[in-house]
Amino acid sequence: MKRLILLSALSLYFLSNALYAQDVPQSQVPSVVVNVFQQNFQKAYDIEWEMDGDRYKIAFETGILGNDHEAWYTSTGKLVKHVEEISKSDLPASVLKNIQTTYNGYQIDDIEKITEGLTVTYKMELESFTQDWKIVCNSNGKTIRKIAD
């Protein structure tokens, strides 16, 4: 009985992996994609490859503090999306200024820089005593989307 439970739990785990995202060892990733990635992010470490649909999703870290990154490549080696965890000080001054004026009195947290092709957007959480927001803004600091949290 115990073995049966263990077995079903294991198979469930693998099944769910297959359904959502599938871990892939780097040696199984086409060379073209690997090489492009390595050229793009030369200082990446703790690299984990996943198949996300027909794309390759790479989770990795950079820097001494271990900033989290996620990058998506097509199977031909085109970078389609790059999500980078950044600190408040890394935000462009215009963006920071804009947000601070729009959302006065809010704490800025969990900032992500999202690059898709040539467009750059920033995603962040804003927290106050009364209200939390999740917002996305463009490279000028203009809010594109706003969700109450």
């Binding site: 990733v29 086409p30 060379s31 073209v32 090489n35 390595q38 050229q39 030369q42 031909t76 080696g77």
Partner: protein
């Protein structure tokens, strides 16, 4: 084989196996590590080369390894997109620093594919590997060196430590070897607190005590038995003598009695000898004095003069020195007298005896049977060189017992067809 050597043998064999197995595991481990590190290096090269190709596309024309460790090859998009990084062990003609000409050397090759300015290329990078032969050779040498160093240190430790640890044992063994039941007063002792040796000592002491007790009882028994036999034997002898004097005997009756008498005589002699032996062993002769061996030899020869004449035996005496010894006179007479009598009785007609006195040494040589006696047996009790002889086989045993009592060494040799008995007075 010595205990230390035995354990050394086991150690050497098991160490050989252990180090051998360890070497194999170590070899594969090292090889894996080397590959790992080479692969890592290849990957780094790959990044740098692709980076350079991006900056300087001219290097993309390099399609062979002639000038470097990498080569490009254009690929179709289809081929390229399905291509995955491959690491391969292979061989290439190369010239190492230690080679005079091109040689087939083992290399690790990384094959990858990449895109540059919309075109696809295949990139091969090589890195020379450690030659497996070299690695194996080196490792074997190291393993052997390790083995020998280990063995040498173990032998050294064995010699120093084990010899020290076993020293009380060997000293004990030495004492035990010298131990003579009934002669050695003190029991052998082991000078250590080592549990095993102390237990050994205890066991040996128990054994020796039992043996000594048995020996004492045996000695006493022989003494008592032969003593108790004296009177009945006296009665028998005298009764038979009186019977034979009776003139009314028939000749055949008398002959039977004569035969019985001879047997009784033998019994008497046997009993006397046993009593003498028992007395020697009980050290009942303590009237020790300085006796002149020369004097005793002369006295005995004078007593036996007519007998020697009868057998026509030439006796020569060479007195190199005046030999004296501190012992009981009667005992000295028994040893020397019996040896001379033996030399006479076991001689051949027209034979010879030569007696030589040296410093602390007496030699009695005689002609006789042309073959050696069994030197390891002649001194044991009841041994007779001629099984049918009327002798009782105790003569030399008694001599030996007296010699042991006075720490005189006695040897028998058969040299130049002569029987030689040598006494060394220490």
């Amino acid at each position: 084989m010595k205990l230390a050597n035995k354990s050394l043998l086991y150690l050497s064999v098991s160490l050989f196996v252990i180090i051998g197995l360890w070497s194999v595991v170590f070899y594969f481990n090292i090889q894996y590590e080397i590959k790992e590190s080479v692969d890592e290096g290849l990957e780094n090269y790959k990044r740098q080369i692709i980076y350079r190709a991006e900056k300087d596309p001219s290097i993309l024309d390099k399609t062979n390894f002639e000038e470097g460790f990498f080569a490009f090859k254009p690929l179709s998009a289809k081929e390229a997109l399905h291509f995955k990084d491959r690491y391969l062990d292979t061989f290439m003609y190369m010239q190492d620093a230690d080679d005079t000409e091109l040689e087939l050397e083992p290399v690790r090759m990384l094959t990858t594919a990449f895109e540059s300015n919309g075109r696809f290329y295949q990139l091969k990078i090589i890195n020379s590997m450690v030659e497996e032969d070299d690695l194996v050779g080196e490792l074997l040498e190291e393993a052997l060196a390790l083995y020998f160093i280990l063995m040498a240190s173990i032998i050294l430790i064995n010699n120093v430590v084990l010899q020290r640890v076993w020293k009380p044992f060997y000293s004990f063994l030495h004492q035990l070897k010298k131990y003579r039941i009934g002669h050695t007063e003190e029991f052998p002792t082991v000078n250590t607190h080592t549990k095993e040796f102390v237990a050994l000592q205890k066991a040996v002491h128990t054994l020796l005590e039992q043996n000594n007790k048995t020996y004492e009882q045996q000695k006493k028994f022989i003494g008592n038995a032969s003593h108790e036999l004296q009177t009945p034997l006296a009665i028998m002898t005298n009764k038979l003598e009186l019977l034979l004097e009776n003139s009314s005997l028939q000749p055949n009756q008398a002959e039977s009695i004569a035969e019985i008498m001879q047997l009784v005589d033998r019994l008497v002699r046997l009993n006397k000898s046993l009593l003498l032996l028992s007395k020697i062993e009980n050290k009942q002769f303590l009237n020790n004095q300085t006796v002149s061996v020369n004097e005793i030899v002369r006295q005995n020869l004078s007593d036996l003069e007519e007998l020697a004449e009868y057998k026509n035996i030439t006796i020569s005496v060479i007195e190199n020195t005046e030999l004296t010894f501190f012992m009981d006179h009667a005992m000295a007479n028994i040893i020397i007298g019996n040896l001379i009598r033996n030399a006479l009785f076991h001689n051949v007609t027209n034979g010879n005896i030569s007696i030589t006195l040296y410093e602390n040494q007496l030699e009695i040589r005689n002609s006789g049977k042309p073959e050696a006696l069994l030197s390891e047996k002649i001194f044991s009790r009841f041994y007779k060189s001629e099984p049918n002889s009327a002798g009782i086989g105790l003569g030399l045993a008694i001599i030996k017992a007296i010699c042991e009592l006075y720490a005189i060494s006695i040897e028998y040799h058969f040299e130049k067809q002569q029987h030689l008995f040598r006494l060394r007075f220490k």
